[in-house]
Symmetry: C2
Subunit: 268 residues, 2 copies
Amino acid sequence: MTGIPIGVFDSGVGGLTVLRALRELMPAENFIYLGDTARLPYGTKSAETVVRYSLQCAAALIRRQVRCLVVACNTASASALDALRVNHPTLPVIGVIEPGAEAAVAASRSQHIAVIATEGTVGGGAYQTAIRRLNPSARVTSRACSLFVSMAEEGWTEGPIAEAVARRYLDPIFHSGDAPDTLVLGCTHFPALAAAIRAALPPEVIIVDSAATTAAAVLDRLHGACASPGVRGTVSWLATDGAARFARVGSAFLGETLHAEAIEIVDL
Amino acid sequence: MTGIPIGVFDSGVGGLTVLRALRELMPAENFIYLGDTARLPYGTKSAETVVRYSLQCAAALIRRQVRCLVVACNTASASALDALRVNHPTLPVIGVIEPGAEAAVAASRSQHIAVIATEGTVGGGAYQTAIRRLNPSARVTSRACSLFVSMAEEGWTEGPIAEAVARRYLDPIFHSGDAPDTLVLGCTHFPALAAAIRAALPPEVIIVDSAATTAAAVLDRLHGACASPGVRGTVSWLATDGAARFARVGSAFLGETLHAEAIEIVDL
């Protein structure tokens, strides 16, 4: 309940969907957002590299003082959460995987859950591990949907191409005899394509957006938010490269206009 | 005319289309290929960052002794060629932009030339500069086609989605009253999508593939290749991350099977 900000980092602009959900839930809080745009994407990199980059992102935020660290990146949450918690034992560290897994297990009747994510997240099996920890008999079907990331960044989030790409990825999972009843959007870019993904799914399938579930987990972990009705908290913007691109592409993810001049470029 | 290898680098696997063309033209030569896979893609990064990374890639190759440096990456050729030549004045340094520009100017009747590339290459205007240096009255129409990179890496190089994406990018350029007659594939990933790109183009448009033109420029610059009929030169493989992914995705670009065990991971 102080003005000390909540630190949020991602490999780029995808984590802005998480920041947007956090600000909707906790409008009076202050935030620092760091996008490691010089080294994106994390999704195709090895776990060792992602751990190293995540520790550097966390250190940059902690140097500026934060009261909580939100890993708004599925790849980093999958690979680096343990290392971050070991290195910063007194700081609450919240990733996007566990809240998404909890929401999926709570939503699914059949306990057959589909997860779509980047190659790195799928390869690491983090959602499978997190879901099975909650329900050892749950089944998880995973698929890497790498193209969704570049489509979201290109702004091609709707229309026939987006829907054709979504069907190509999702039909093999959902048009089989024993299909999952719940789909986890396991990459922070994917909520931008929610309409095309919805159009490709049978209507009864429930979509779990881990941005919203992560925001709820942060609120819970902090035992409530800064309560100043009518006050809008601030956001400090950091990126490791390309302020103009960060502002242009990020505005769509954040749902409000970002200005390049407001973004400080930092070297990690 | 010695066994000293030719050094080739790219941000990832795209440059393997250039290596493939080099080996077709100079089969007896030895090569060292470095893919900076830990930091790909270069196409969305700032020019300063691309220069820094390119100098590090060059240094790693030069430490192993090379007789020529091929910058098999359009983004690095656009941003870093001058810096590389200043830092290594005695080493022949050949990029992919100049040969592509020369081939386009030679092929085009109307001297209205289209260039498709990554955002970084288009933003830097390097093809425009190179083409205008050869013919100051030439006109250049450029477009960033970011999605082509991830489609090539995903292996979605043919079929209705690839063709729809190609049409979405190319129709505004080629279905206008005053369309270019020549298209430069200004990213080393794009030759993988040549069939879909061809299908989206009016039949009279000439496609310039800068991989083949670069290989010819290297041969010319070295005053001929190592001449040992029947001898197949070797390739040493270096990458900065993810040998398994490099081998899997790279095989399609190289046109032959790459084995992960053959790839040495280096830290720049």
